[in-house]
Symmetry: C2
Subunit: 356 residues, 2 copies
């Protein structure tokens, strides 16, 4: 079994900590380790470092290797440009087939937070087992804890089989991020799961599905396959990848495929999409302040403070997200962290590259 | 005519910019210049540097001289310990008598903000003229613009004389900082002025008044007078000053003296007592943000941002006081800046000297 970690994200929503050169998964906002270090370590009991592949962009490869010295350099697959998840997964599948003939691959985002690691691994294992024995596309659905509008949803179909402690279901439909009322209806109705963006399938299965639903991508991948391992590899990859359709695996394959199964799981999952999400999952003091760094609160409550190396005093304030770096300070009302991207847009518009 | 600037203050209310080593009057929170530089420059048309005395503590003398190179070193009078305003003024009066026999002295705090400098100098001039011709204690009262509870009040008595464009009044009473209802009554009733802590009198007049109302202070000053200019000066000052009663000129002399006159003035005065006061008097943008430094506001309003050298982004917040230094960050709800001293008290209690 292989693991493929997709580390192409930019993470502007964690500005000012996240920057173009330092996207979310390379940051240590959750604790001692960076998010990708936690991601790799979390699957270690299932997949050793030699079979863990990471797909990333050129500009982050060096920092990624620095953070993950145990991952062999040839396991870092570099996309010449970002082309969304379908080409990324296709490229990884080619490499796995070349190394192992065929194998199950777990496909994981680089930047999620998992509360219950044992539960997470159990679900992954069940998904991999189903992918292997049923020759199908398996997606992992998260049992929702609220009517989130920031996630896509999977509608569960009939039970397919029981695998160990877990059940396997057919997929009835895949839904884009819904408006609030629809999300509430999903929850009330039951049978809907959050789309985690985590998958298990054999390399051969996903490449066949790409061939069926994304023939243009298949043609590009075929050219890349021929070049892998030759001295034309970098050249061909650089030329062909740029021409590949930029499409997500959800939209390009999963929504169209028939042979999709779901393993539902509950393991304290969050896609860690914003400073608000970080406050939600952080350990808090008696006034519900989540603090990283030296802190004095006078009538201060329900705030996130991320300011390593500087004393922060909050006086008479509540519901703030406070994030400080060497060159920038963000103070955002809690619940408004989706607007942090407006700050980044303003900086882009004003050409203030040094803050991007 | 001499000017005596009292620069003994600590200014914990401007933490984290103000520190034990760097009190408010040594900071540039108002603009390009530090507050004491502005204070000295403001009176320059009336009093040259050679006749401007500054009374301060040992630990601030060097920085003060650095900021005010035009003030002769012998004009920096160093108090061995802080003993409130009466001993400070008495010491300055001794030095003035020794240099000039006798002269009018303007007594000014080091850390006020004045909007109308011409108006301010006109009132000072009128006060000095009255102090000279009437041989009395003259205090400057500010026509109130609101029922402030942070200032003491002067109750105006009968008119005494007209001096140029200004009028001179007797004082009926001197009131401590009043509760809100009383301050409102003062304003409704009229005839009450804010006590600015600015005075004019001859050196001989104030020393006589000290003799009458503070005989213990007079005895101490007499010993210091004998030593000034001798090689015993530092020794005697160090020994005697410590024993002087710690008392304000208001409480020790002005409230008891009969020969007190007021010149009322309106010249955009503020005692600049807090970050809230600074926001009030600062120039603001269209959303009422007063900003020093690089700034991006997304739905941000009515806030003060003092963060030289760092980009600050406010998102969805209002009514915040944000002050950043190399080692500390304060975020305080506007209207709560009196609680900043609680932060300083906490730091003292925890023995975190590096932040004091």
């Amino acid at each position: 079994m292989f693991a493929v970690i997709m580390a192409g994200g930019k993470g502007a929503r964690f500005w000012p900590r996240s920057r173009e050169k330092m996207p979310k998964h390379l940051l240590d906002i959750l604790g001692e380790q960076t998010i990708i270090q936690e991601t790799v370590e979390r699957i270690r009991p299932l997949v050793p470092a030699e079979r863990t592949l990471i797909v990333t962009g050129q500009s982050h490869a060096a920092e990624l290797m620095r953070q993950l010295p145990e991952i062999p350099a040839e396991n870092i697959l570099i996309e010449p440009v970002g082309r969304n998840t379908a080409p990324c997964i296709g490229l990884a599948a080619l490499h796995i087939q070349r190394r192992a003939g065929d194998a199950v691959m777990l496909v994981l985002p680089s930047d999620h937070r998992i509360g219950d690691e044992d539960g997470f691994r159990r679900v992954l294992k069940a998904a991999a087992q189903a992918a292997d024995s049923e020759d199908c596309l398996v997606t992992i659905g998260i049992r929702p804890t609220g009517p989130e509008t920031g996630y896509g949803y999977l509608e569960q179909g009939e039970p397919f089989a029981a695998i160990g402690e877990d059940d396997l279901f057919r997929v009835r439909s895949i839904r884009e991020k819904p408006p609030r009322e629809e999300a509430e209806r999903f929850l009330a109705q039951g049978g809907f799961l959050w789309n985690s963006g985590m998958f298990a399938w054999k390399a051969s299965t996903i490449l066949q599905s790409i061939g069926r639903h994304l023939p243009e991508l298949e043609r590009g991948l075929a050219k890349i396959r021929e070049a892998i391992g030759t001295d034309r590899e970098a050249d061909v990859l650089g030329r062909i990848y740029r021409e590949l359709p930029s499409v997500s695996i959800d939209y390009g394959v999963m929504e169209k495929a028939r042979d999709v199964l779901i393993v539902p799981g509950s393991f304290g999952w969050s896609d860690l999409g914003s400073w608000d999400a970080l406050w939600e999952i952080s350990r808090k003091d008696g006034r519900d302040n989540a603090v990283r760094g030296s802190f004095i609160g006078i009538d201060a409550a329900r705030s996130l403070v991320h300011s390593p190396g500087k004393l922060v005093a909050l006086v008479g304030v509540e519901d703030l997200l406070v994030v400080e770096t060497d060159d920038a300070l963000l103070i955002c009302r809690r619940g408004h962290s989706q607007d942090v991207k407006k700050v980044v847009e303003t900086l882009e518009k004003e050409g203030r590259e040094e803050y991007l």
